[in-house]
Amino acid sequence: MNVFLNKRNTILPKILIGILIFLIFIAILNLFQKQFNNFFYSISNPLYKALFRAGANTSGFLGLFLEANNLARINNELILKNQELLDEISFLQNAKIENQALREVIATQQDKEFKLVLANVIGADNYQDSILIDKGSENGISENMPVINSQNVLFGKIFKVYKNFSKVMLISNQNSVLDIKIQKDDTISAPIYGVLRGEGNFTAILDMVPLDREIKNNDMLITSSLEGNFPRGLLIGKIIEVNKDDLKPFQTAKVGLFSSLKQIDKLFIISDYKLE
C-alpha cells in the first residue's frame, strides 16, 4: 500500500515538472518564432522554390490534358474576344490621345510610379490563403504593403514579415476586405462601389452593392483606394455570377479573381504607397 502511495506521490511531481518544462519550451519557441521561421525558410528555400515551380509546371501539364476537350470552345471564344478587343483598342487609342492632352494640362499625380520590390514566390499555404515570398524586413518590407504582379493584378498585402521572407495575405483570405470600384463601359453614370470579401479557398465575393445599381457578368473590378491600403486602379477580377435578392439590402456577386496561384512566380511589393 505504502509502495503504491509512494509511487503515486512521485509520478505527480514528475508530470507537473514535465508540463512545466514543456510550457517553458513552447514559450521560448514562441518568443523566437520569427527567427525560427526565418531560419527554416532559409535552409529549405532552394528545395521549396524548386518544388513550387515543379508543382506549377506539373499542374499546368495535367491541366492541358483535362482542358483538351474544351480547346475548340475556348478557341472560338478567344476569336470573338479578340475581335472585341481590336474594337476596343481603336476606341482606346482615341481616348489615349485625349487623355495625354488632359494630363499635360492638369499635371495630375495619379499616374505617379511606385517603388516596387521584386519577390519570388516560394510556397503557399492553402489553409490560410497566403503565400510565402523571399523578401523580408532586410529588403525594406513591412506589414500592409500591397502585392501585385507585372500586369497590375492585386494579390494581397503583407501580413507577416521575417528577416528574409514575408507572408502575403491573399485577397481571398477570409480576413481580407477591400473597397472596390466596378468598371463600367459607360462613363456617364455614377461609379458603382462595393466591397470584396475573401471567402477562403481562393474565392471571394462582391458585397455591399446597392440594389438599384446594375451589375452584370464580366464587369471588371478594380481597387478604389477608399480604405487607404491599396492604390486605386489595380485589377482584381471580374463578376461571374450576380445574386440579387429584393429582400436583402445589397446585392452580391461571385468574383473570378485574376490572382491565380498558377500564374505566380514573380510578384512586386509596392513599398512606398501612402494614402494621399
Binding site: I26, L29, N30, Q33, F36, N37, F40, S44, L47, Y48, K49, A50, L51, F52, A54, G55, A56, T58, S59, I122, G123, A124, D125, N126, Y127, Q128, D129, S130, L132, F159, K160, K167, M169, N173, Q174, N175, G200, N201, F202, T203, L261, K262
Partner: protein
Amino acid sequence: MLIRLPVIFLLFGLLGIFQTGFFTHFNIMGASLNLIFILFYIIVFFENSKKYIQGIFSAFTAGFFLDIFSSFYFGTSFICLLIIAFILKHMLELLRKKKGEYPITYFISLFVLSFIIYNLFLAISVYLLNSHMKVSLLNWIFVIEIAYNLLFAVFGFYIYKKFKLYKIEE
C-alpha cells in the same frame, strides 16, 4: 527507435515542404492536402496502442512543422494532435480485435473523425488566438477536403501495411 525518430522528423519536414510547395497547385475546388496530418495519423494508427512514445513524438514534430508552415503560435497544432493521438489510442484499444489487425474500415472512419476534430480544434484556436486563418467547416469544400485527404491516407495505409508485412517476413 533511435534511428526511427530522426527519420520521422525529416519525413515530416520534407512532407511539409511538399505540401506547401508542390501540392499547393493541386487543389480540388479549393480543397487542399494535409500530408503532415496524414503521416501523423498513419503513425499513430499503426503504433501499438499501449505505446505512446512514437505517437507523442509524431504529434510534437507534426505540430511543429504545421505551426512553422502556418502562422499559428507554436504549440497550437501540437496540443491538437496530442489530443487526437490520445483519442485514437483509446478508440483503437476498444475497436481492435486482435494484435496486428488493421481493418481499413476502422482506418477510414477514425481518419474522418480525427480530421474533423483537428479542423474543429483549429477553428476554435483561430477564433481565440489567431485571425489569419480560414474557419470553414460547414461547407461542401470541407467534405471534398476530407475525401481528398482520405484518398492519400488510404494510399499511405496500404504502403505502410506492406512495409510492416515486409518487416515481419524478414
